[in-house]
């Protein structure tokens, strides 16, 4: 059996943290793009267009991320579509993230008082003009803090990708533990790794919340 020094362990964990960061970024950016599309679609006045989006959001919010990962990995495999752990993890996390972000952004738009719509409407602005000039600028401001806050959930969510064999921080920790049998040390270091990624995001979200709560000033 190989001997691992503390530095070996830390170095391997740090290297694998890259993949946690990459997966988080892809999930967050990809999820953001999908959520943006869904949010715009959800704004349609037609119920037949709104309904599928609502169903999508409920579906992904109401089931565990782990099941979504299993379905993306084993489920697609059983259907004859071979996907790598990479593809499955990315797909599941993007869908998961997009559902939550759609819900958050939708809520921010709905939080703008109806008087704003009416105020714009009586001045002659159309629906899209009102969205563009009146509603979205205000909703965006509301959305920033909870969006950054949710990114913490995405980072932690990537840990589940280890179960389908995606080698990131948690998976590397498991492998190191199998080799060294120092679970307490190793998983404490893994947890610390997530904390180092998440805590600055939390702090930043809190800072934004405070800053953007002051209405009026830009």
């Amino acid at each position: 059996m190989m001997d691992f020094t503390l530095w070996d362990i830390v170095r391997n964990l740090l290297l694998s943290m890259r993949w946690t960061v990459v997966l988080s970024l892809i999930a967050f950016i990809g999820g953001g793009v999908v959520a943006l599309l869904l949010t715009v679609i959800r704004l349609s006045p037609s119920r037949w267009v709104q309904w599928p989006v609502m169903a999508y959001v409920e579906l992904f919010q109401g089931t565990p991320l782990l099941m979504q990962l299993f379905l993306a990995f084993f489920g697609l495999g059983a259907l004859g579509i071979q996907v790598s752990a990479w593809t499955a993890a990315t797909l599941a996390l993007v869908l998961f993230t997009s559902a939550f972000l759609t819900d958050i952004w939708q809520g921010c738009i709905r939080a703008i008082p109806p008087g704003q719509w009416q105020g714009a409407r009586v001045l002659g602005l159309g629906r899209l003009q009102t969205l563009h000039h009146v509603i979205l600028p205000q909703a965006l401001r509301l959305a920033i803090a909870p969006t950054v806050g949710f990114s913490v959930q995405v980072v932690k969510g990537t840990a589940l990708a280890s179960i389908i064999g995606f080698v990131e921080l948690t998976r590397t920790g498991t492998m190191l533990n199998n080799a060294t049998f120092k679970p307490f040390l190793i998983f404490a270091l893994v947890a610390l790794g997530y904390f180092l990624l998440c805590y600055p995001l939390s702090l930043y979200a809190r800072h934004l919340e405070k800053k953007l709560n002051v209405t009026g000033s830009r």
């Binding site: 009586v122 001045l123 002659g124 602005l125 629906r127 009026g216 000033s217």
Partner: protein
């Protein structure tokens, strides 16, 4: 010819019939005060006049144009009618000046410079020329309401609808807003107001319309109607508000 002409206007919310056939003609330059108990349908009626509420049946004609929210773009609907709300509904993410400039730029396609000049003129009219760069939240309620009036005026409406525009204000701020309205009336603007300010209705208004249970129950010259109400319902209402 009447500037505003309403025939047999009906409106229900579910099973509740709020407007049970309203007929009203308003000539240019008239100041019409709509009074009545809450629930009498006066706000709904006002909101039908710019199609914030769509009527179920009847006809609304303003400046020769028959209104129909189903087939008309907002720009066309609001072409002749402006509105000021009880809660101002200013855009909090825009400065006072930008609030007034927005519609002329977006709806009428004016350039920023023209719109800015127009906005300054309108703000001057309501006595707030010096607050062009302020944020709405930095203003008192009365000042915010005057900005809302300036914003509506910038689209040069033929009729200005005012929905209880002094009801959300502290008593000492009401006067400034009413003074602006008075000046507008003197300039010949056609005003239709839902209001509880009886002295304003009497002194500035040309006509009072008393609504009761979804109908126009009594109307006429404001001084006459307010000093010698004919129907017992209006007598009762007036003695309750005084």
């Amino acid at each position: 010819m009447s500037l505003v002409r309403v025939d047999a206007l009906h409106k229900s919310f579910g099973h509740l019939e709020v407007l049970k056939g309203i007929d009203l003609k308003v000539s240019a330059g008239e100041v019409v005060s709509i009074i009545g108990r809450s629930g009498s349908g006066k706000s709904t009626f006002l909101r039908c006049l710019n199609q914030l509420e769509q009527h179920d049946s009847g006809r609304i004609e303003i400046n020769g144009q028959v209104l129909d929210a189903n087939s008309m773009a907002p720009a066309l609907l609001s072409e002749n009618v402006g509105m000021v709300f009880q809660n101002f509904n200013l855009f909090p993410h825009k400065t006072v000046g930008e609030n007034v400039m927005l519609a002329p730029m977006i709806v009428r396609g004016e350039r920023e410079r023209e719109a800015s000049r127009l906005a300054r003129r309108m703000l001057e009219r309501v006595g707030l020329a010096d607050r062009f760069d302020a944020w709405p939240e930095q203003l008192s309620g009365g000042q915010q309401q005057r900005v809302a009036i300036a914003r509506a005026l910038a689209m040069s409406p033929k009729v200005l609808l005012c929905d209880e525009i002094t009801s959300a204000l502290d008593p000492e701020l009401v006067g400034d807003v009413l003074k602006v309205l008075e000046q507008l009336a003197r300039d010949g603007m056609t005003l239709i107001l839902v209001t509880h300010e009886m002295s304003f209705a009497r002194d500035v208004g040309s006509r009072v319309v008393f609504m009761h249970q979804g109908r126009i129950h009594e109307q006429g010259d404001s001084r006459e109607v307010l000093s010698q109400p004919r129907t017992p319902e209006l007598q009762q209402f007036l003695s309750a508000v005084r």
